[in-house]
Symmetry: C2
Subunit: 212 residues, 2 copies
């Protein structure tokens, strides 16, 4: 499957690029700047070996893919969704986005509506799938890291949800869990500030989540 | 330590009564009706052996304890907090309460303010501690059940939080995790509808949570 990582130059993009490419998927790393996308793709190729990883501007990356994962910071996501709406509205779009900020008492969830629902509104698309919020990005990007994490997944489109659930289930150590329609994404996204608080108040490193 | 389980006749109350009593704590099971409290206490004593478990009306139970755990359904909690305010405002009060309801798309979190903060407002107390929201009650009440679950804990009063964290850490298979001040309780309480959705959409039984 051809997967684009839009803004895929951070740790979540790196982890997804490496781990999906190793499985045989064709990865397109997207960035606002073509040069940065190409150099990151080269860096990832060196780690992943023979894997098919290329770099392109976000727009070209979006055009070329079947599944686009929005691996960019939340504050840039809505602007990008608006700019690429004409391309992304027909694709499966995965939102790992979380509107989180830090206040006096710790991290808080900042929005009355989920990031995934806001993206779906902008794109006027049902094919938005919410996933990967709680995957610890730096650990995930390190191929030596072993883990056993759950990935709650929300979407209003069953076919798109199935594709993403299958993709997640292929990655060793990740278990996708259906968390219902996109309106439930707020509950999933709220896990991220909770985990950041637990890391902060207990002086712990990056943490994922497991339901058991 | 003398622990009251106010409305302790359900599964969370039963699990806490059994598991804390076995550790040597003195347990008071509270109910609106004295007769029901006494019969539940007798039932729990039979399971827990030599343990000190007694039954009383909620008011008497609250008076007699050092720590009161509100093991009643959310819809009755605020009314009880108001009725017992004169007693509970000086005690450590633990809120496992979650304002949850079921809509078309699954379970939702119902409130802009956390249950724990609402209880603290009613009691005009800083000694409210939020905990136990994600402990699967029926499994917890079964002493044959083995588990490895995390329990996020919030409070504005460090001394009260420490007491509750120590209590949780004594129970085998539970790991308390400091999740910050009471204003973070909403993020913890939101875990419950998320877990209920995951159980529902994946046809799974009761689940707890672990951060790893």
């Amino acid at each position: 499957m051809r997967v684009a990582l839009l803004g895929g130059t951070g740790n979540l993009g790196k982890g997804l690029a490496l781990r999906l490419a190793i499985l045989g998927h064709e990865i397109v790393v997207g960035s606002r700047k073509e040069e940065k996308a190409k150099s990151k793709a080269e860096e990832y190729r060196k780690i992943a070996g023979e894997a098919r990883i290329t770099g392109m501007r976000n727009e070209e990356a979006a055009k070329s893919c079947e599944v686009a994962i929005l691996t960019i910071p939340w504050e840039h996501a809505i602007k990008m969704a608006k700019e690429l709406k004409h391309i992304l509205r027909d694709k499966i779009v995965v939102s790992p986005l979380v509107p989180v900020s830090k206040g006096d008492g710790g991290f808080t969830y900042d929005s009355s509506k989920s990031a995934a629902e806001m993206v779906a509104e902008v794109l006027e698309s049902e094919k938005v799938v919410s996933a990967f919020h709680t995957v610890p990005a730096a650990r995930f990007a390190n191929l030596d890291e072993k883990f056993d994490w759950d990935v709650p997944v929300c979407s209003d489109d069953d076919a798109s949800k199935k594709v993403v659930i299958k993709l997640i289930s292929e990655i060793e150590g990740l278990r996708p869990l259906d968390a219902g329609p996109l309106s439930n994404s707020r509950l999933v996204e709220s896990l991220t500030p909770l985990i950041l608080n637990i890391m902060h108040f207990n002086s712990m490193g990056e943490l994922g989540v497991k339901f058991l």
